[in-house]
């Protein structure tokens, strides 16, 4: 073989090689045995992971500055930082185009995933073999609960929702085939309630094992139902002719235009159903100290008052943001004076009626405004002159000084200073220490029995006919709070409209900073009177000049703000959607 020939062979060999590999297999390289969504639903653990993914859409509401507006956009707190979205909301810089706090999309993602789970978990061979149909039914009920919960979350923020139904919309459908209208508020409520009822039938009353705590239970489903029906019975949604013009494209009103008194009955019954489960108790500290009892609701994990919680959360971040700078925190979640004034005195009377209240002078260095208040005040609000220990303050407690030049005052605070002269300490763990990197971990309480009592009392009082029963539950709350019950001592037992007002007052205090007030002031239709200028102490002053009410914040109110707007993105794509009034 001469050289020339050899080369030809080599060239030919290379060409041949190339030709050989030109078979289409070269590009066909995705293995067939990769994980597919069908596989997921044949196995137990992956299916549970899918369900965990659905659970994850349960919002962690610990972030009240950039993630959730429920306390910072109402007469509860001022958030110190202009950099967060909450600031934009309060100055009115929002529109369908910006749509801040846009949870609509994420909840609908959760709804889709829940539906997909419900429709695919049946016939899961591994679960059937290991645990039987019962566990599949339970998981389906959990997903059904979650789906209903998500719908309610959208409903409370955006008003009437788009009900998707039992099958998810196909991803490859044309845009025209994806068009759905919003349903009326009552239809939404009915759907959510029927779904919760369906779930409640299957869900266990108590979790099957220690490992299952945190999953949806019968109580969770019934508790959410209670809240849904309470809202539905409330003035905002029950025969509210202010919304007469808010109609679907076919002319049907979104909000019922005729008042239905029986809705209060349904709400009362729903609350009672939770109470009658008899598995939840108001939390009380063994010491009997009402401050500890009240703080324990949130700080003692898995106490018996909790009905539905989110175990994984960022409460440590809430701790950071609420805590004093001296304690390593960021000093910026500040109750407004209106909130401070709402707390009762220790005699159970409001400051306007109690003889104990004074806005002059000091007692042991503490401004008299803060003296003789009810235990829940001391468990919730940190005020100037209070003693504090927690976070980085681990040895001796310090005396809080939020005056202008004080240790935690504005002057040295950079952007981190209380704008009102108060800080929230409710649900703030003293164990969290940012400087040392310690994060107290505890479940985020989403629903607790205290709320159900108040739901029950309110619905019953509104419905009428059994004020005594309503008062009983109101007094249970007051008793745990460590203040005199109505109908005892100097406190007369209220009835009728006065009882309703007392229940509302109690609710404001008991559920403060727990993401209720924003919705309550709307459903009671009192929102326009609680927004606007909000006050605080004069943080630009030192010494006694500090104790002067000044305007600390302004929460802009417009009629449109009853609900968040549907985003312009959604309006441009959902051609059957009607925008909320005023937007």
């Amino acid at each position: 073989m001469n050289k020339q020939q050899l080369t030809y062979y080599i060239i030919s060999a290379i060409c041949l090689l190339a030709a050989l590999s030109s078979c289409k297999k070269f590009l066909d390289q995705v293995p067939n045995d990769r994980q597919t969504i069908e596989e997921v639903f044949q196995k137990k653990r992956p299916s549970e992971e899918y369900l965990a993914n659905v659970y994850n859409y349960v919002r962690d509401e610990s972030d009240q500055w950039n993630g959730n507006p429920w306390t910072g956009n109402v007469d509860e707190v001022n958030i110190a930082w202009a950099k967060w979205t909450i600031y934009q909301l309060n100055v009115g810089n929002w529109s369908p185009g910006t749509s801040p706090f846009y949870t609509w999309q994420s909840y609908y993602n959760g709804i889709r995933s829940a539906t997909y789970f419900i429709n695919h978990i049946d016939g899961n061979q591994e679960i059937l073999a290991l645990d039987g149909q019962q566990l599949i039914d339970q998981y389906k009920a959990e997903a059904r609960f979650l789906r209903a919960y998500f719908y309610f979350m959208i409903l409370r923020q955006y008003g009437p929702v788009v009900l998707i139904g039992d099958t998810e919309l196909p991803a490859d459908a044309s845009a025209a085939d994806l068009q759905l209208p919003r349903s009326s508020f009552d239809d939404c409520v009915n759907y959510i309630v029927s779904e919760l009822d369906q779930a409640a039938v299957v869900l266990p009353t108590v979790p099957a094992s220690d490992r299952d705590y945190g999953r949806a239970t019968k109580g969770a489903a019934l508790a959410i139902k209670s809240r849904v029906l309470l809202y539905a019975a409330s003035p905002e949604f029950n025969g509210n002719t202010d919304f007469a013009g808010f109609r679907n494209m076919d002319g049907t009103p979104f909000i019922s235009q005729a008042y239905d008194h029986e809705k209060w009955k349904k709400a009362a019954d729903a609350a009672k159903a939770v109470i009658d489960l008899n598995v939840y108790r108001l939390y009380e500290d063994p010491s009997g100290d009402p401050v500890k009892s009240y703080r324990g609701i949130h700080l003692v994990p898995w106490n018996d008052e909790c009905i539905f919680v989110r175990k994984s959360n960022s409460l440590w971040d809430w701790d950071y943001n609420c805590s004093l700078r001296s304690a390593g925190g960021w000093n910026g979640v500040s109750p407004v004076q209106e909130m401070v004034d709402a707390y009762f005195m220790k005699d159970g009377l409001p400051i306007t009626q109690s003889s104990l209240y004074s806005e002059t002078g000091f007692t042991n260095g503490v401004y008299n405004m803060y003296v003789n208040r009810e235990p829940r005040f001391y468990a919730s609000v940190l005020f100037n002159g209070a003693k504090y220990k927690g976070g980085a303050i681990t040895q001796d407690s310090i005396t809080v000084d939020m005056t202008y030049s004080g240790r935690d005052g504005k002057r040295n605070g950079g952007e981190d200073y209380s704008h009102t002269g108060y800080l929230v300490i409710k649900n703030v763990s003293p164990e969290t220490n940012r400087l040392a990197g310690i994060r107290n971990s505890r479940p985020f309480v989403l629903v607790r029995l205290g709320e159900i009592y108040l739901n029950y009392a309110e619905a019953l009082a509104e419905y009428g006919g059994n004020d005594a029963e309503a008062l009983r539950y109101l007094n249970l709350i007051r008793k745990r709070a460590g203040i005199p019950e109505y109908g005892s001592g100097e406190l007369p037992a209220p009835t009728g409209a006065e009882l309703v007002q007392k229940i509302r007052n109690e609710r404001r205090i008991e559920l403060a900073f727990e993401c209720h007030r924003w919705f309550d002031v709307r459903r009671w239709k009192i929102v326009s009177s609680v927004m606007g200028d909000l006050h605080g102490m004069d943080i630009d002053r030192d010494g006694n000049d500090f104790y002067r009410r000044v305007v600390a914040d302004h929460h802009l109110w417009k009629e449109a703000y009853y609900w968040f707007p549907l985003s312009q993105y959604e309006m441009d794509r959902g051609l059957k959607l009607v925008q909320n009034p005023g937007w």
């Binding site: 050289k3 020339q4 080369t7 080599i10 290379i14 060409c15 090689l17 190339a18 050989l20 590999s21 030109s22 289409k24 070269f26 590009l27 066909d28 390289q29 995705v30 293995p31 994980q35 969504i37 997921v40 965990a52 993914n53 994850n56 930082w81 202009a82 950099k83 600031y87 100055v91 810089n93 529109s95 185009g97 609509w104 609908y108 993602n109 959760g110 995933s113 929702v161 998707i164 919309l169 991803a171 490859d172 845009a175 994806l178 759905l180 220690d210 490992r211 299952d212 945190g214 175990k311 994984s312 950079g414 952007e415 981190d416 400087l435 630009d540 312009q568 441009d572 794509r573 959902g574």
Partner: protein, 1112 residues
């Protein structure tokens, strides 16, 4: 058969080929063949080399050598005897062979001085051979002249010739448009010669996709950069390209050593997906950022479909072809270059000093809170101004504290090339080192300075294995080491923008590191106390190519096969730490500072590591056919090629990305030229991409082109005095883009990991989340239909040449996630589809004026230009409510925002204007209510400005050469571009409290007393977010156009100097370069090229450098 087996086979074959070559060479050396080239060397110098090559000892007495003259010759594969004959010719010595040794003796008396030998009338030998161009195409009509006899001949149809000569005669080969070559006849009777076209001439052979073509017959739109122009004192080659070549849109967004690459787009962006061009180095897909410019032989960009269709699914964004240098036969040429430069930032943002900061803060606070007491007391301002207590009342210029005034860069390259007729080599070693401008702390025990060092090596070997077989082997690569502070440049810059001058000093007087509470960070701490990060990149490229001339089977036929293996490794070690930080709150009664600890540091260096890497196999085999008929009247060429590539991410993070990235395809080309007048070309790519389902995987990408060289027409002759060359060409074709970014294997659905959830009362029962990831979709590549019309003109006696190309591109089926899905559908990842459409059009051109003015003076001016505009035709989104909000019909990258009408002058004007959100007062920006609904909101955002990617990029520069002197400059500019300003540091007091620096132009603001009617800043407020002054609006859109003096160079070349010759240096050039030395722009807050935002990036660098370039 599996891929690895195939690779094995190829590797074995390669080894076999190499082995054959080696055996071949050693057999020749045994028979004492000599290859040597000497210039003016004494025999005493030459003999040892002969001994070394042959093993034969040479003995002589110094006395005999006294009268010998130095010799110069160049021989390859000659016998020892022949070399000795040359050495003793015309010398008073002769030689004899004794016992295997050579003995030098004086010539016998009478034989000296030599008698000229009688000239033979007829040469004894007939030399035959073939003359070809660089592409191997035969050159009919070339002249072959025997200088000794003065007789000549011309080559025939196939470039063949035959001429009579004696040993020692000189043959000269010449052809119009080509550089002549001279060959001395040795004992070889067959002399094949390839002539290189003179650069820029129409005979020039240029690189095209998968081959070479004569410039005159070129139809595709392509342009190239002179290799010398790439040699800029910048580490990253991509920075030298924009403005240097017609058709490149490019901007450089950072000057940080090691991360300073430019964004490069060929003819702009015409897709929503990946718009980077395909880059091929020596025919293989490779990144070119770190190539040593010295090693580049040619740099070509392919722009239209005719040029890129052969690349099929990869060609739609244009192609960059880079070839590295190869050896040239002849004596070794060694080239040494040294370059030392000092670097400086082109522009450092200037911040307001502490006193200005405090005054402005007070003014802003008073504007927002009328009647409130000042934010900062007079006392604080006085103390800051006095600077007496820098611990409590600092006044820091953070920019000055962080950066040195100068950095430096250094480049060394030494390369050698040479070889014989049968084997040539090019070897090169490069070194690049750049020290950034960050300051370091002398006390730290580690080095956190910013430093980038790179070593490049390149070797290209060519062996003419047999008469018809050539083997090319290349191995090259680079290693780079980067050293950086523990925190990223982005973080550090950001911190410097956020930390006002008056909060903390750089360091407390007692040495403590300051850090206030909250989120503001001390930039100095981040820069000097955060440890360091060290990364190492290494890239190895190897390729082997065997080319076989198959002319024996069919004239003009050849074939080659190529295989390459590339390996890339990246390795980063972070040794970061945090130190304790403190904040001085006040002084106690004794005047001592009272500190509060704001961070508990880790104090010791931590450790973390990250790796990435990839390897790539590439194979290509092709058959070429090149032939001209009828005396060159018909020129035909054809090519068919198969290729496939396989790249594996060695540190893939998930299942899908661990699957190799593969391409496979066939490319074909046919060209025809009639008498260099009428040209036609057909190109075809038949390509497959793994991304698509089997049915939609492969596609045809054809392109067609025609050309007409009008100046070669008979009727054009009368015009030939005015116009020396005129050519028109047009092309049309289809190219694809399968690089959709982020979604591989679109035809399969995926399961995605999501956030999970936790259960469990006393135990943790944690679940990861799982959900549907992407839906399977039936998609295919995006398709670009491209048309190009070009004209080439040469006039003014050939001094001026102009090339202009007009282009149109219609990109359809662009990968786009569906944007018409309502959120209530709950679909997490919108499915992809071939949904987008973009139309791109533009023009690019190159102008060259080159004139010899007298004997020693040469003037040259070059310029190029590109303009493009891409319009969105379909973006797969639902329509916006108002026409001015629509994206469709507008240019890609169009900015949208409010239209600023000026500043409110009075409360009355505010009351009578549409409602704006927030606290609006005189001095605030007034916006236009586009939809007339009486309020300013998102619906009033219309198109404003151009966008961040320029529409126009141009460059031009003159150069003048006088004798050894040469002076040149290069200007680069971009236009039709703007900068959108935003971000903390730009917006004064954006976030309430002590955050955010102020630019020094802050004083140019609206004043409450109305004394500044046309301010830069509107009314200052505290915070600035309390109104809509900093909404995205035309107020904050600034013109981003600039013209930069990118390069000024002065050099002197020493040639043919005796002192150089003594040093063995053939040419020596000394030069000084200024790079990026001046920028002209109406924007002056930061280096305008950095673009949008607040300028918080590592600025671009200007460099002054000195260098030498020395050839041995």
């Amino acid at each position: 058969m599996g891929l690895s087996t195939k690779i094995w086979l190829v590797m074995k074959l390669t080894a076999l080929l190499l082995l054959t070559a080696l055996v071949h060479v050693s057999a020749e050396s045994f028979s004492q063949k000599v290859t040597l080239s000497v210039t003016n060397k004494t025999l005493q110098e030459v003999f040892p080399e002969l001994t070394r090559q042959t093993g034969v000892s040479i003995f002589y007495k110094e006395a005999f050598m006294a009268q010998t003259k130095p010799v110069s010759f160049q021989i390859a594969n000659a016998s020892l005897q022949m070399v000795l004959d040359i050495c003793v010719r015309d010398q008073p010595i002769t030689y004899e062979l004794e016992n295997g040794n050579i003995i030098i003796k004086p010539k016998p008396a009478g034989a000296w001085p030599p008698v000229p030998a009688p000239q033979a009338d007829t040469p004894r030998l007939t030399i035959t051979g073939k003359v070809t161009d660089a592409a191997g195409l035969p050159l009919p009509g070339a002249t072959v002249m025997n200088k000794a006899t003065g007789k000549g001949t011309a080559t025939g149809d196939e470039g063949g010739y035959s001429i009579g000569a004696d040993i020692g005669d000189t043959l000269q080969f010449s052809f119009i448009g080509y550089a002549s070559r001279v060959v001395v006849v040795r004992e070889r009777l067959v002399v094949d010669i390839s002539l290189e076209a003179q650069s820029g001439s129409m005979k020039d052979v240029v690189v095209v996709g998968y081959g070479r073509q004569k410039r005159i017959s070129l139809i595709g739109a392509q342009s190239s950069i002179k290799a010398e122009d790439l040699k800029q004192p910048a580490a990253n080659l991509s920075n030298a390209i924009a403005g240097r070549v017609a058709g490149i849109i490019g901007v450089q967004r950072s000057g940080e050593p090691g991360y300073d690459g430019s964004q490069i787009y060929i003819r702009g962006i015409s897709t929503f997906t990946n718009s980077s061009p395909l880059v091929l180095v020596d025919g293989i897909e490779r990144s070119f950022n770190n190539i040593d410019p010295e090693d580049i032989a040619s740099f070509t960009i392919l722009k239209d479909a005719s040029a890129t269709a052969v690349y099929g699914v990869r060609g739609a964004n244009g192609v960059i072809l880079i070839e590295t240098k190869r050896g040239k036969s002849g004596k070794p040429q060694v080239n040494l270059q040294l370059n030392q430069g000092i670097t400086q930032f082109t522009k450092v943002p200037e911040f307001a000093d502490g006193v200005t900061y405090l005054q402005m803060a007070n003014e802003a606070y008073a504007n927002s809170h009328p009647g409130a007491q000042p934010l900062y007391s007079e006392e604080k301002i006085r103390a800051t101004a006095a600077g007496t207590d820098p611990d409590l009342h600092p006044n820091v210029n953070w920019m000055k504290e962080m950066f040195n005034d100068f950095g430096n860069n250094r480049r060394v390259n030494v390369n050698a090339n040479g070889g014989s007729e049968r084997a040539t080599y090019y070897l090169s070693l490069g070194y690049y080192n750049e020290t950034g401008l960050y300051k370091t702390d002398e006390l730290a025990q580690y080095n956190s300075s910013i430093k980038f060092t790179r070593y490049n090596f390149t070797s290209n070997l060519s062996l003419q294995l047999f008469r018809n077989t050539r083997v090319d082997f290349g191995a090259s690569g680079w290693i780079s080491e980067g050293n950086y502070p523990g925190r990223s440049a982005g973080d550090i810059w950001d911190a410097a923008y956020i930390m006002p001058p008056t909060i903390i000093p750089v360091k407390y007087s007692n040495g403590l590191i300051p850090q206030p509470r909250g989120e503001v960070s001390n930039p100095y701490d981040m820069l000097t106390q955060s440890g360091y990060v060290n990364n190492t990149n290494s890239q190895l490229w190897s390729n082997i190519r065997v080319t076989q001339d198959l002319g024996a089977w069919l004239k003009g036929l050849s074939a080659y096969g190529m295989f390459s293996f590339d390996n890339y490794n990246y390795h980063q070690i972070s040794r970061t730490k945090t130190v304790d930080t403190w904040f001085a709150t006040h002084r106690d009664a004794e005047g001592n500072l009272v500190f509060e600890q704001t961070r508990v540091g880790s104090s010791y260096l931590g450790y973390s590591r990250s790796n990435s890497g990839s390897r790539q196999y590439y194979g290509e085999a092709a058959i070429n056919y090149n032939r001209s008929f009828n005396n060159g009247i018909h020129e035909v060429s054809g090519m068919i090629l198969y290729n496939q590539s396989d790249r594996t991410d060695a540190f893939a993070g998930d299942f899908i990305s661990a699957i190799p990235y593969r391409y496979q395809g066939i490319a074909a080309r046919a060209t025809y030229a009639y008498n260099e007048r009428y040209l036609a070309e057909f190109n075809l790519g038949y390509n497959g991409s793994e991304t698509f389902s089997e049915e939609k995987r492969f596609g045809f990408f054809p392109s067609y082109g025609v050309g007409w060289v009008a100046s070669n027409e008979r009727f054009f002759r009368p015009l030939s005095n005015a116009i020396q060359f005129l050519k028109f060409r047009g092309s049309y074709g289809i190219v694809g883009n399968s690089s959709i970014g982020g979604r591989r294997f679109a035809y399969i659905s995926t399961v995605a990991g999501t956030n999970g959830y936790s259960f469990g009362k006393n135990t943790d029962n944690n679940y990861n989340g799982l959900d549907i990831g992407d839906y399977a979709v039936d998609v295919t590549w995006e398709q670009a239909k491209k048309a190009n019309f070009g004209m080439e003109l040469r006039t003014l006696k050939g001094a001026l040449s102009l090339t202009v190309d007009f282009f149109l591109e219609s990109r359809d089926g662009i990968f786009r996630q569906r944007g018409d899905l309502p959120n209530y559908a709950g679909i997490q990842r919108a499915p992809y589809g071939n949904l987008g459409a973009i139309r791109n059009k533009g023009v690019d051109g190159t102008l060259t004026y080159s004139k010899q003015l007298g004997k020693d003076l040469h003037l040259e001016f070059r310029g190029n230009f590109v303009w493009n505009r891409a319009i969105i035709k379909e973006d797969a989104n639902a329509l916006w409510p108002y026409p001015w909000q629509q994206v469709i019909g507008r240019k890609l990258g169009q900015r949208f925002g409010l239209t600023a009408l000026g500043l409110f002058q009075s409360g009355e004007e505010i009351a009578n204007s549409p409602v704006q959100t927030g606290d609006i007062r005189p001095g605030d920006i007034k916006y236009k209510d586009l939809n007339g609904d009486g309020r300013i909101d998102n619906y009033d955002q219309g198109p404003i400005g151009y966008g961040s990617i320029p529409e126009i990029v141009y460059g031009f520069g003159p150069s003048l050469t006088y004798k050894g002197w040469s002076v040149g400059a290069w200007f680069k500019g971009i236009s039709n571009v703007d900068i959108s300003l935003n971000g903390e540091g730009l917006q004064p007091f954006q976030k309430e409290g002590t955050r955010g620096n102020l630019f020094s132009n802050i004083t140019d603001r609206w004043k409450p007393d109305g004394s500044n009617p046309a301010p830069w800043y509107p009314r200052l407020t505290y915070p600035s977010t309390s109104n809509s002054n900093y909404a995205n609006s035309s107020w904050w859109i600034k013109n981003g156009a600039f013209l930069r003096i990118q390069n000024v160079e002065l050099s002197y070349t020493f040639r043919e100097k005796r002192w150089l010759e003594k040093l063995g240096i053939s040419s020596f050039r000394l030069y000084a370069v200024g790079y990026n030395i001046a920028t002209f722009s109406s924007f002056d807050l930061w280096d305008v090229e950095l673009g949008d935002g607040k300028g918080a990036q590592y600025p671009l660098l200007k460099t002054y450098s000195l260098g030498i370039d020395c050839r041995f």
